[in-house]
């Protein structure tokens, strides 16, 4: 978002006054970065777009609480991520798998040996792989890797225990690697 600070303040003030014109401005400005965030927590484009809309409704409702000092983009992103977590919680039917002994994880090999190869994959391949993860894996992987949550925070947010968060991260990664390796082999 390239915008003068004064311009941003004007738009934020407009949003605080619930002015629809400025709300649209914010939406347009952040759409290109925030929709991809939703992609990562969803399994289809439609689902991602719904999530984005719900997120922006919250942004407009909570905008009174934003103080001009912090990063506006970061603030919006946090709300969008929280919307994704809420959506996940509401649909939570899936049981997190807790059994660490079954991971046949040769991931460390691939970390070293295939790192260079993964670099050749396109962003779309990675997003596609991400969207085919189960919602539980998506949530843990994204919160840990993309948002920098600690396992403790993930455990609190998703109401699971720390060990589960860790094993789900490992499995999410293993699945991603398998999918990406398949994609690479088809190149």
């Amino acid at each position: 978002m390239k915008l003068e600070q004064s311009e941003l303040e004007k738009i934020v003030d407009g949003c605080k006054a619930k002015n629809r014109f400025y709300q649209q401005k914010i939406y347009e400005l952040l759409y290109d970065k925030m929709l991809p965030v939703c992609y990562r927590y969803s399994r289809s484009t439609d689902e991602a777009k719904d999530m984005l809309q719900d997120g922006f409704i919250k942004v407009f409702e909570k905008i009174e609480q934003y103080n001009t000092g912090g990063s506006f983009e970061g603030w919006v992103r946090r709300i969008i991520v929280n919307t994704a977590i809420d959506a996940y919680r509401k649909n939570k039917k899936e049981v997190f798998i807790d059994d660490e002994s079954r991971i046949k994880d040769d991931s460390d090999w691939q970390d070293i040996e295939n790192e260079a190869e993964y670099a050749e994959l396109s962003i779309n391949d990675i997003v596609e792989a991400m969207q085919s993860l189960s919602p539980a894996y998506q949530a843990v992987f994204n919160l840990y890797v993309m948002e920098g949550y600690t396992h403790q925070e993930i455990a609190d947010e998703l109401e699971i225990n720390i060990g589960t968060s860790k094993s789900n991260l490992a499995k999410a990664k293993a699945n991603m690697k398998t999918m990406l390796t398949d994609k690479l082999n088809r190149l």
């Binding site: 629809r20 649209q24 939406y27 347009e28 759409y31 290109d32 970065k33 991809p36 992609y39 777009k49 984005l52 809309q53 922006f56 409704i57 919250k58 409702e61 909570k62 609480q65 912090g70 946090r78 709300i79 929280n82 919307t83 977590i85 809420d86 059994d99 660490e100 002994s101 079954r102 991971i103 046949k104 994880d105 040769d106 991931s107 460390d108 090999w109 691939q110 970390d111 070293i112 790192e115 993964y118 670099a119 994959l121 962003i123 990675i126 997003v127 840990y144 890797v145 993309m146 948002e147 920098g148 949550y149 600690t150 925070e153 720390i162 060990g163 094993s167 990664k173 991603m176 690697k177």
Partner: protein, 329 residues
């Protein structure tokens, strides 16, 4: 936030996904615009509110007409439907510092491992019984015998050295059922100590076997592919060292990690004070140990005499020319 130590794969995914941008679609705004219209409508115009109000009025009338003794109707509280908004204020302020692993986390992982091990042992026991039954009823080909002897060897090793088997439970079971040839016999290793100081180099020795590759993870972000690596631990903490053995034949993998964590202590500070005193006309020197965090002490008085005392040391000498203090831990 954003302080997690990411491995190569995670960093790669993160940096790729961070670059992703969506192309703006104005029809999406139209949809949101409509939703906003609905959200912003005053709550008293909502059909739910109207329905609830009507119900409340009717209910009150009904209650009043039925129970004349009832002095006050039960008040009905009606709230418009609200969006749940997550609390984000706290998280914004909070800064999370990446720490290696707390003791609690370690214990939690350990518990998971212990449970897994129990399960695996139960399976092995069941398999063993089945095997005994089988051996009575069947003539076993010599090839199969070899496979079994290897398996029982593996079991003994894992029980003796106390390492936690991670994923061989399933493969062991499969070996019994399908009688495949075992390509990895063991993933087992030794280390020369389980406690050391930061800056110490620890030697690791893997059990040798043919046609395998070794991969060590030292739990501090470093790896080694040597059979017998030495690794320098530069930061204090506890480390779960793991060894992954991969078969060159079928790429199957076996993992072991040290059950007891490797403890790397912070370097102690070494210091002492000395005082010149006199007792009964004999001059002596008192040495006062100021070292912290140490677990063993070794004094060398420079005249060939040594001591392992921790605290105060009295030297009946008129002169102390040089002093060295070394501390092991």
């Amino acid at each position: 936030m954003k302080n997690n130590q990411l491995d190569n794969f995670e960093s790669l995914i993160k940096s790729s996904l961070e670059k992703q941008r969506a192309v703006y679609d104005s029809s999406d705004w139209d949809k949101l615009n409509k939703k906003l219209d609905q959200v912003n409508k005053p709550f008293y115009s909502s059909p739910w509110f109207i329905a609830a109000s009507v119900a409340a009025v009717l209910g009150t009338v009904y209650l009043l007409s039925t129970f004349n003794t009832l002095t006050e109707p039960t008040p009905l509280v009606i709230t418009p439907q609200e969006y749940e908004i997550p609390e984000i204020g706290e998280k914004e302020k909070e800064e999370v510092v990446a720490i290696p692993l707390t003791e609690e986390e370690h214990n939690e992982i350990k518990e998971v491992f212990i449970n897994a091990e129990k399960e695996i042992n139960n399976k092995k026991e069941t398999n063993r019984k089945e095997e005994i039954k089988k051996s009575f009823s069947e003539t076993i080909a010599s090839d199969n015998k070899e496979v079994k002897s290897r398996n029982s060897e593996d079991t003994t090793i894992s029980e003796e050295n106390g390492f936690t088997p991670l994923d061989d439970g399933m493969s062991a079971e499969e070996n019994f059922v399908t009688e495949e040839v075992v390509t990895i016999q063991k993933a087992s290793f030794h280390m020369n100590t389980i406690e050391c100081c930061e800056g110490a180099t620890i030697d690791f020795v893997a059990e040798r076997q043919s046609s395998v590759d070794y991969l060590w993870s030292f739990d501090d972000g470093n790896y080694s592919k040597n059979e017998n690596p030495s690794h320098l631990f530069t930061n204090p903490g506890s480390y779960k060292v793991s060894l992954i053995v991969r078969s060159k034949i079928d790429n199957s993998v076996m993992t072991r990690s040290n059950d007891q964590l490797l403890i790397v202590h912070a370097k102690p500070n070494v210091d002492f004070e000395w005082e010149m005193n006199e007792g009964n006309g004999i001059p002596y020197t008192s040495l006062i140990n100021l070292a912290d965090k140490g677990t063993s002490w070794s004094w060398n008085f420079g005249d060939g005499s040594i001591s392992n005392e921790k605290t105060q040391i009295t030297l009946i000498e008129t002169k102390v020319s040089t002093c060295y203090i070394n501390s092991n831990k």
